[in-house]
């Protein structure tokens, strides 16, 4: 236990969800997507220190990986990833003038974890 150094991370660097709005106009897709104009996709970013992996919605695996990283720095740190995603619907038009409505799973990050 004594060999594991205490983590030096500030709260703002811890794994959490960040806002990311994807505007279809920025991608030039507004020319064929009727709706929505864009969507809040979000993303996950931040550290997963060993001492906090359990409180950061972390998996048992993340806990073990963080522990091993603390012992051997050659093993990468546990990573901050989406743990809950939700779908969006898109209305668009193809080259045959068909109007299409499709639902796409896992497009919005609702929650993040280690």
């Amino acid at each position: 236990r004594a060999a594991i150094p205490a983590p030096k991370v500030s709260c703002k660097n811890l794994c959490h969800r960040h806002q990311l709005f994807i505007n279809f106009r920025d991608l030039g897709w507004h020319k064929w997507i009727i709706a929505p104009k864009g969507f809040m996709a979000n993303y996950c970013h931040g550290d997963c220190p060993f001492s906090l992996t359990t409180s950061l919605n972390g998996s048992n695996y993340a806990f073990m990986q963080a522990l091993m990283h603390a012992v051997d720095p050659a093993i990468p740190q546990a990573v901050c990833i989406p743990t809950k995603l939700s779908p969006i619907s898109m209305l668009y038009q193809d080259n045959d003038d068909n109007v299409i409505l499709r639902h796409y799973e896992d497009m919005v990050v609702d929650e993040c974890g280690c």
Partner: protein, 234 residues
């Protein structure tokens, strides 16, 4: 290099969306109410955190995760005969189903015919709409195109407003055998003899019908690859 990377990633994402290339429509088609409603219902459910079965279209009561509104690509047939001896309107309706992929299963195909507002109020029970399936290629007779062998699917006396026809079995046949897709023949017939004054009014109505008629095919399909888990749940 950044542009190339974006194009490569864009292509990969478009494939994920089920598209071969970036669509570049000349203008947006009008979106029917039912598609807007399904879109907004889904958006509302996502906003308030309600999870919905994405492979069941509650609003239509059918399984499916892809809804397509196919525009009519057919054409009107015009006759030089006198109006009293000819149908009010004849049109070949054609819907290109090539966008439906092989792995998709058709669960609904609904033909929508919008005849425009209050078209027949002054005519009484004098018109009849007949929808037929074209079973043989069209033939040309004295420069007037006529469809070949046909099978009457449905006739509607005194048609008006928006009409819907269930074409699931027909669309399944077209989808499985694209060479069989020779379209539909739509005819609005005048019943009985008319005097000259009424004929004038009838001509006017038929001309307005030709302008306002709008046909589309709403097709719902289910891609089992994208729907296996929710299908099992059901």
């Amino acid at each position: 290099a950044l542009g190339q990377t974006f194009q490569f990633q864009e292509h990969a994402f478009l494939q994920f969306l089920g598209l071969d290339k970036v669509p570049s429509p000349q203008k947006f088609q009008p979106v029917p109410y039912i598609l807007k409603k399904i879109f907004h219902d889904q958006e509302t459910a996502a906003t308030i955190g309600i999870s919905r079965d994405l492979c069941y279209v509650k609003e239509l009561g059918v399984q499916g995760n892809i809804l397509r509104l196919l525009p009519d690509q057919g054409f009107f047939l015009y006759s030089k005969n006198l109006p009293q001896a000819s149908p009010c309107l004849q049109k070949l309706l054609y819907f290109n189903l090539s966008a439906v992929k092989d792995e998709e299963r058709l669960t609904m195909a609904q033909l929508g015919l919008d005849l425009g507002p209050n078209t027949y109020y002054h005519l009484g029970p004098d018109l009849e709409l007949v929808l037929s399936l074209v079973q043989e290629p069209h033939v040309w007779d004295r420069s007037i195109p006529k469809p070949g062998k046909m099978f009457v699917l449905q006739s509607v006396p005194w048609p008006q407003g928006v009409l819907h026809f269930n074409l699931l079995e027909v669309a399944k046949d077209w989808s499985n055998n694209p060479q069989k897709n020779l379209g539909l023949f739509l005819e609005i017939l005048v019943k009985g003899q008319r005097d000259s004054g009424v004929n004038f009014q009838l001509e006017d109505t038929c001309a307005r019908l030709r302008c306002s008629l709008h046909a589309s095919l709403l097709v719902v399909t289910l891609n089992p690859k994208q729907c296996h888990s929710s299908s099992r749940k059901r």
